[in-house]
């Protein structure tokens, strides 16, 4: 019998489609209330960090160079108080097979799909992850479909996303391009159901476990070269996988005292599901439009429970601006001889400011770079912004108004991160978790929320009291 493929029918089967497409029953980890067994889910991958390293190494992934940015460090020190300005290093993740850290996630997901006997893999992403899954599928001999949010209703696409579609096709994948909207999930589920392919979700435990090697390598490299752990690791925050995986890897390496800082481009005021505003942003990832919701409401993706839970791991969450990231991208090319994609430099733009808070003898590591190319480069992105009526000028990042302007720093001295309130995000996560409870929240739920928000019992209880929720 042919299944009904209309919107409501497909969405109604989402639980069974997801189960079949992941080879994993998330119900095994559910408590029936707010809590679920996160560590149980993570160990269900069945892979140790050594095994993941082996899987990645077989396909040109991982063990990327950790480059010291000497000129950028020297420049940052010019604006820091005497004795301050940590050494800035960057993990050159562009050296991975498809050009970004996403290869780490894709390598594990695709290897797992292959082991389970799936014929193909499918992923919903407008980002580098598409190319990573396509590349891994090619290496491991599988078919691949990438579902992309790409165009506005006029059929105009961000040059950065169009380039990512090209790259996926170049690596042998089929690319389904869609207009703006959360109904992408419907199309994704529908194709998953018809094809029977594995859901290489960005948020599956396989994907997140793949990033742990990144944190692990950073700690090991720093110990070998400098005899100590980095004081700070700065991660670009979008879906939360980078923060979660890197921090877990650092912990596995024993680098417990390293401060993990999440950084996103501030796009406050732009609605991510707005057709009109879609092309008013001049970066397509690494921004607060993904970063904040994924931190405060992780379980909304294409898996029942997200393995990316960044609020558990971040010590701070800071924002930077589109203009600072564009300027930083040019700085990396001009002062360090490294031409890399803009979005991947979000954390680096933040690091330039953060390094100035730390003494000179400390180490600050930025976790990624990404590949660059036509469309995915500051010139086409600035040109596209200008064509879309965005004003571009030199000034102070304080003048930044997402969707209206791009303020390029008038000099490197005005780079300055802004702090987001983690407590506000913790409260937001608690509020969004409450509807999962059948009645009163249990002691297990409270304990779960303490860990999920990296707070304490008093904080969680106070937040629940504020909401008028019983426990």
């Amino acid at each position: 019998m042919k299944l009904a493929k209309d919107y409501n029918s497909v969405m109604g089967r989402s639980a069974e489609i997801m189960k079949a497409s992941l080879g994993l029953d998330f119900n095994d980890f559910e408590s029936g209330s707010v809590a679920f067994d996160y560590e149980g889910l993570m160990t269900a991958t069945g892979y140790t960090i050594e095994e993941i390293d082996k899987i990645q190494s077989r396909t040109g992934v991982g063990h990327t160079p950790l480059l010291e940015l000497r000129n950028i460090t020297a420049l940052a020190r010019k604006y820091a108080k005497p004795g301050y300005g940590a050494r800035i290093l960057v993990k050159d993740e562009a050296a991975n097979a498809s050009g970004s850290f996403k290869d780490r996630r894709a390598a594990c997901a695709v290897a797992h799909a292959k082991k389970l006997g799936y014929k193909g893999v499918i992923a919903a992403t407008s980002g580098n992850y598409g190319a990573a899954v396509a590349s891994q599928a090619a290496m491991q001999g599988m078919k691949c479909i990438i579902v992309q949010e790409c165009y506005d209703s006029k059929g105009v696409g961000q040059p950065e996303i169009v380039e990512k579609a090209r790259k996926c096709e170049a690596l042998g994948a089929e690319v389904i391009q869609l207009t703006v909207g959360p109904e992408l999930f419907y199309e994704h589920l529908s194709v998953m159901e018809d094809s029977g392919y594995f859901n290489a979700s960005l948020y599956s435990p396989f994907g997140i476990a793949g990033v742990e090697t990144l944190g692990y390598e950073i700690a090991m490299d720093c110990r070998e070269r400098f005899g100590k752990d980095p004081a700070m690791v700065v991660c670009t925050q979008a879906g939360g996988g980078m923060v979660t995986g890197t921090a877990r890897g650092l912990i596995k390496a024993g680098a417990e005292n390293t401060e993990v800082v999440a950084a996103s481009i501030d796009l406050t005021g732009l609605h991510m599901a707005s057709d009109v505003q879609f092309n008013k942003k001049s970066c397509t990832t690494g921004h607060t439009g993904f970063g904040v919701p994924h931190a405060t409401n992780p379980d909304t993706g294409d898996v029942p429970r997200s393995a990316a839970r960044p609020l558990r791991y971040m010590d701070r969450y800071v924002t930077t601006t589109q203009g600072e990231v564009m300027y930083m991208t040019e700085m990396l090319a001009n002062l360090e001889g490294l031409e890399r994609g803009p979005a991947g430099n979000t954390a680096l733009a933040a690091a330039f400011s953060l390094a100035q808070e730390l003494p000179e003898d400390e180490i600050l590591v930025v976790t990624e770079t990404e590949y660059t190319g036509a469309g995915k480069h500051i010139q086409p992105q600035l040109d596209f912004a200008r064509e879309n009526g965005i004003e571009i000028f030199f000034g102070n990042p304080d003048q930044d108004e997402p969707g209206k302007n791009i303020v390029l720093p008038e000099n490197p001295g005005v780079f300055k991160v802004k702090e987001l309130s983690l407590d506000k995000m913790r409260k937001s996560l608690i509020k969004r978790s409450v509807p999962r409870a059948a009645g009163k929240l249990t002691a297990e739920d409270i304990a779960f929320l303490v860990v999920d928000t990296r707070s304490d019992e008093a904080f969680v209880k106070a937040a629940l009291d504020e909401l008028g929720v019983e426990y």
Binding site: L75, E174, L335
Partner: protein, 101 residues
């Protein structure tokens, strides 16, 4: 005119505006949810705008309006943005690469 076996790009309305889900901004709710995909044309011949069947790179069958034959990418490194040169000049000046001028 497109012929059977040619590589084409098609367009399809997945959900008309009236059938879109509620939790989206008004501007998005007012427009169709659309899809584009590429594949090998299955019809003997077809004109642009005609409804056609294709087989995609992974072997799936899709139906939609024929949009392009031999589709290609036109994204580029963009038009000249003078601010980029200004950034370069500023950085080189502060760092005094090659010694003081």
């Amino acid at each position: 005119m497109a012929k059977k076996g040619e590589w084409v790009r098609i367009h399809k309305v997945v959900l008309p505006a009236a059938e879109r889900t509620a939790k989206i901004p008004e501007d998005t709710k007012n427009v169709d949810f659309e899809m584009w995909v590429k594949g090998t044309l299955q019809n003997e011949t077809a004109e642009i705008g005609e409804e056609v069947t294709i087989i995609t790179a992974t072997g799936r069958e899709e139906v939609g309006k024929l949009l392009e034959v031999n589709p290609y990418y036109t994204h580029s490194y963009g038009k000249f943005v003078p601010e980029i040169v200004e950034i370069d000049k500023q950085l080189r000046e502060i760092m005094q690469f090659g010694g003081e001028n």
